[in-house]
Symmetry: C2
Subunit: 372 residues, 2 copies
């Protein structure tokens, strides 16, 4: 099989930073996953990144990820081998050797967790994922839209408990896995959505791990060159600036296994006198400026520190931070009726239709006024 | 194999009544299980009841049961084949033919559910169970005391979802299965505690299904003969009368997948002027008379209608009912330190040690005064 790129332990630094940017505020702090992945690569050797197109149609491909509230995941570290256990248990259950590892979610901690499994098993890792960003629920992957069942799925905790789920649909997988994860203490490790190469070719969001690496490298190099890291990231993502302001209020609670809340900002510089509000359920879902919606899910919203360009997750938001909010284009699969049904604003309880942020009239960026 | 007795559909009437008596207020209304079992027997043929002693030491024996809040179980009927699906899935997982079905809990709905599986599979049903009564949690079986793991366990719901659990101990099985059951809508069907014949011989509470049948028959015959059904049941159980009164207050809520609450009674006849209080978590756990404890778990407490002798479950308690409360001896395994740790009053949050109800000074029955 043609290898796109070989990933060494030090490459995980950039990938984790890029994963935090695509994490859109959630997906868990990639720091934890980075440490796990680096340890696995140092122990077992580097990871072979491959392009989806180079995998045989009959290859068996299995995504892995960590599930739970990000606030818990960063405090309750996995033992390290739960992901391998989940992966091997699923392989045994399927009665067939798995040919490649896939990333379920390129944003947040799960941009790095698949490297743990790829390193430990020596299997190639597909350069892509099922979201192109992060989302809070298991069924929120492009795989669901293509009729791939999330089950059989194996879920393991850090204590040695494991569950095999077989459900009637992917929404039930989410419900039952979420209940188990909450009971397991708030986080769990899983292998799920087993699929063949031909199916994966239709639904995988391609190139997202390379995008993570490039975002991390760009940020690092821009800082080293005393450049403008926010602009550099924004250019690479084709993003639009939604706001630049200082955090004035943060309301955050862990409910039903999710970190939910709202952050409020007062504008600085050219945004002075304006306000900005950001809702999240693990991930940022809805942005309002002066009371008008300027961006909603599925369009990704990410927060960067204004000076350093460092991505900021919802669980590390705190009073006084000076931040820049960017919106960037989502994978087009999310804009289909099936995509909107899975992750549109109405699914998350908002009485609003999805309108792309570019259509909302903000494509012009920071010079544009907000709508009435 | 020597067959103790053949059970036909009409025999389930008595067994269900006896199961409600051993249900000690919980275990679910046996009416639902009775209908399921009768339908299965009419369709597949009668059930062969066997004694534990007649099974080979290397036989593979699997208990089945229904799990959930009794209040839900009676309203949300299973489709009928979930128990068979759970049983067959576990058999497949174990990679070996199961030789006999076992009753997990002889009290309540689970006195009859094993007949569904025995009828459908043609396998013998062991005359015994893991409690000799009903208890609210999965680990509360004599099997746990003998080191039998509850897992691998298969749990199915009425929608077609299934779970395979493998846990580090039986308390974790309870936690994870309970969370899944709540998410599944409050009830689920399961096959668990796979064990060999030699182990089963050490821990099974023997003869409990025959006891159920005899209790039901005694009640029916006593009524037909215009006898005293309460006395007839009391004699058969070797029971002690704890109270005779009218229900004045019932507090009941479904919390964490359990039906919890307290019932209060005012005495009638020779108990006039005295009060009685009964706490339950699915099952009756603690009885107080005039503020003094007169019986606690693991000693079984059951309520019968004073006139008819019909058993009354906690979820059918209502204002004005005239009831008799009986205590009867528990299986001696529950009185060991391991038994008390599993189901003693302290496990259920009471600041009280277990003292057998006979020792509490009430062996004399209704003539005895309550302690100060």
């Amino acid at each position: 099989m043609k290898i796109l790129r070989t990933i060494y332990a030090e490459d995980l630094e950039d990938i984790a930073i890029g994963g935090a940017i695509l994490g859109t505020g959630g997906g868990g702090d990639p720091y934890v996953g980075k440490l796990m992945a680096q340890e696995a690569i140092r122990k077992h050797g580097p990871v072979k990144l491959v392009d989806m197109a180079d995998l045989p149609d009959d290859a068996l491909i299995v995504p892995v990820c960590m599930m739970g509230a990000p606030t818990v995941m960063t405090e309750k570290l996995p033992q390290g081998d739960e992901l391998i256990i989940a992966f091997r248990k699923l392989e045994q259950l399927l009665g067939r050797k798995i040919d490649a590892v896939l990333c379920g979610e390129a944003g947040g901690v799960n941009s790095t967790t698949p490297f743990v499994v790829a390193a430990a098993t020596g299997l190639p890792l597909v350069d892509g994922d099922g979201m192109g960003r992060a989302y809070p629920e298991l069924q929120m992957v492009t795989f669901t839209m293509h009729g791939v069942s999330a089950t059989p799925m194996v879920l393991c905790d850090d204590k040695g408990n494991s569950l095999v789920l077989e459900t009637v649909d992917n929404a039930w997988t989410e419900r039952l896995a979420r209940a188990a994860t909450v009971e397991m203490g708030g986080s769990a490790l899983l292998a799920f959505y087993p699929m063949s190469g031909d199916v994966a070719k239709k639904c995988v969001v391609r190139g997202t791990l390379t995008l993570c690496a490039n975002l991390g490298r760009t940020l690092r190099e821009s800082r080293a060159a005393n450049g403008n890291p926010v602009d550099a990231i924004s250019d690479m993502l084709g993003a639009t600036l939604l706001f630049h302001g200082r955090l004035t209020d943060i309301d955050r609670r862990t409910i039903g296994g999710f970190a939910r809340g709202t952050a409020r900002f007062d504008g600085v510089e050219e945004w002075k006198g304006q306000t900005f509000k950001l809702d999240f359920q693990n991930e940022f879902l809805m942005a309002e400026r002066d009371g008008a919606i300027v961006c909603t899910t599925p369009d990704p919203i990410t927060l960067l520190e204004a000076e350093s360009g460092n991505p900021v997750t919802a669980d590390s938001l705190r009073y006084g931070l000076r931040l820049v909010a960017l919106a960037f284009p989502c994978n087009p699969q999310w804009q289909t009726p099936a995509g909107i049904a899975l992750v549109g604003p109405r699914y998350f309880g908002y009485d609003a239709d999805y309108i792309p942020y570019q259509v909302l009239g903000h494509a012009g960026g920071r010079d544009q006024a907000s709508p009435a």
